[in-house]
Symmetry: C2
Subunit: 415 residues, 2 copies
């Protein structure tokens, strides 16, 4: 039996035990895991060093090596995050709807775990702990398939988690790692419809696209963010500049940072030079359309590809538009349905933009950087969904649950 | 440009108009459609006769011909159902969550249409009207791909709907039919991720399995129902018999009818003969395990395949089990996660069964036949979902919606 099939069988058994676990037992297990991560720090860091050494040998970039690295501080932060999870409300068991029928039937819709969650992800070993503990909190078993570059760290982390689970009321097989990181095991997970209830990819666009394309198991897609701000004719100059600078420069490497500014041609005439000079002062490279390049000689002429690129870097493409409709058309053509903003003093245009734009989060007079599970107050984040089924936008614990109708009667039959 | 690509482009435009429509305008369009279906009865029935004639020539079974047939009564019922839709609450615009942040940001999660819904379905022409009007009520554009056997009926129905839409405020292209019913057009829809927000298959298991396997567009799966009733040791004899007979015989051809009865061996010793004789009197063929066949000589010995077959006919497989755990194991092995029931006077066993069994609807002392959107009071039903993401169990209008975060500020930036 292959590793994937065997571990999927065990996960199924674990899942059947997990539905009977109380919130108390789940939180107890999380507390034990957090303690074990601290107690076994040396073992984990030693394993991580092997991955770092192997990565250096393979010529990984400093950025990639950094994402791969654990240290006492990072590990302690990871353990802290696990403790924070114990403080959050348990969504499982929540009553979503109650229907009392005239014939005496009581129909209740309650939140239940999804079952077995498959997770395919890249590099960062913190995702291993993150995914495992979010799943445990929501009563799900999980099968983790990380990348080969983090395999030693992942093995150490999962072994520490499993040891902690053995001292808890939860089954050890609730968290399992696929140790064979060949492409074959990923592909097996894609079509494991009998064993997995959902597959969640976390990583770059290529990974996510592959999972969406090849998986027959339902996928929770956490997508890329090619986000825009549209500065309308009536936008306050100061507010517009402040929001754009924040959304572009506060943390350019994340998905809710903006990549393109769309500017009403009349606002551009008034204030675009000031805005662009301030952006340049912040170290941002400007790629502009013709009108922008005429106003700012240092701007690079934007190429077709620039409108669809998620730079994730201090680069911004800037385009002037005639009106809100041209802005919306641009966003629908190039956007990734993540986060989109309008800066305007015109309430009618704001309403029109907020209704028209098809995205997980739409903003009026605020920075797109707020699209985040913690900022929204969910206390945890599985990712930001850019799909429309099941969950859209920042996903908290609820996104890892399903529902079930429980119907109680005393012999009712249908007539 | 192919028919699918061209119609998908038009649907996208229609979708962008539909998000601005009010409940009033949507209901007005539905009322116009219902009136048009009545006014154009002759044209529709004439087209339907062509399909029937072609079906007879191809040697369709009487059951299939019956599903394909329209007549004045059926068409009038279809129009009535459209009028009923106008009475239902519009889920679009509903506020699902409001978060007031300390920095003044107001975050609101609201229900929005899914966008463009693709529907792939078989024979019954009533699904054409059903799908189109459920989508319109929820502000979605739809692309319908019915089967070749109903093509004349479907063309006539969609042309009547589009004419009615032209006299309404809604765009005509909100409802479109793919007229080319070759396999090629179905396959094009499977991978139309840029044009479709969701794909809903309605029909037999083969169709649904193919869509799940081949579609990269997210699928709303409406699955088969291999449903069970477990009669526990303490079950009241009368209640158990009444519920089993209802769940098997009241309408055997539907997905929430049961296919297997699991019986605690001690209950079987007391009452199984009476139950089985009553079932036989209702014309039900019994396929039993060894214990059952010994008690009822007229029973046919069940083969392995019988436990996994959705008979959709007056046939039932019957198995004795040692306890609730054996019943649950059987259900998890052969069930399709649709509707499962326990008949028991033992509250602890009931709770254990309801929590353990992984299905969309679980029953204590009631017939599985209640799993139905109308019985649950939703006033409409898109289908019964046996998947766990997005919607599970009977799907009402809400299943055709997504959500969106609308965030209003006055210049907030993230620090």
């Amino acid at each position: 039996m292959s590793e994937v099939i065997e571990k999927a069988k065990r996960a199924k058994k674990a899942k059947d035990e997990l539905v009977h676990q109380t919130t108390e037992y789940k939180n107890e297990a999380l507390t034990l895991i957090a303690a074990a991560l601290r107690a076994k720090q040396d073992v984990i860091l030693e394993a991580n060093e092997k991955d770092i050494a192997a990565g250096k040998e393979k010529g990984f970039s400093p950025a990639l090596l950094d994402r791969l690295s654990l240290n006492p501080k990072r590990l302690s932060d990871i353990a802290d995050a696990v403790i924070l999870l114990t403080k959050l409300d348990d969504p499982v068991g929540e009553s979503l709807e109650t229907i009392q029928k005239e014939n005496g039937l009581l129909i209740e819709k309650v939140r239940v775990p999804l079952g077995v969650v498959g997770m395919i992800y890249e590099a960062r070993p913190n995702v291993t702990v993150d995914a495992a503990t979010l799943c445990l909190k929501t009563g799900n078993a999980c099968i983790l398939r990380g990348s080969s570059s983090a395999i030693n760290s992942n093995k150490a982390l999962v072994s520490v988690i499993q040891e902690a689970l053995e001292t808890s009321k939860l089954p050890k097989d609730a968290v399992q790692l696929i140790e064979d990181t060949s492409k074959e095991t990923a592909k097996q997970l894609f079509t494991l419809n009998d064993g997995l209830d959902v597959l969640i990819p976390r990583g770059g666009k290529n990974l996510i696209d592959m999972v969406v394309r090849e998986s027959t198991v339902p996928v929770l897609e956490t997508g890329a963010g090619n986000c825009h701000i549209f500065i309308d004719e009536s936008a306050q100059s100061d507010m517009a500049q402040q929001v754009v600078i924040n959304a572009k420069t506060q943390r350019p490497s994340v998905c809710n940072a903006i990549e393109t500014v769309l500017i009403h041609e009349n606002w551009a005439k008034r204030s675009v030079q000031e805005l662009l000079q301030r952006l340049e002062k912040e170290g941002v490279e400007i790629r502009g359309d013709q009108a922008v390049c005429e106003l700012l000689p240092s701007a690079v002429p934007a190429e077709a590809l620039d409108w669809e690129t998620e730079f994730l870097a201090p680069i911004v493409s800037v385009k002037t538009v005639r009106d809100v409709n041209e802005a919306i058309r641009h966003i629908h053509r190039y956007g990734t349905r993540h986060s989109e903003a309008i800066i305007t003093e015109d309430d009618q245009n704001a309403r029109y933009f907020l209704t028209s734009v098809d995205a997980a989060a739409v903003y009026h007079n605020a920075s797109t950087r707020f699209t985040d599970g913690f900022e929204f107050g969910y206390g945890a984040e599985i990712g930001i969904s850019t799909q429309k089924l099941h969950a859209r936008g920042p996903m908290g614990l609820q996104a890892l649950t399903s529902s079930k109708y429980i119907i109680k009667g005393n012999g009712q039959i249908r007539i």
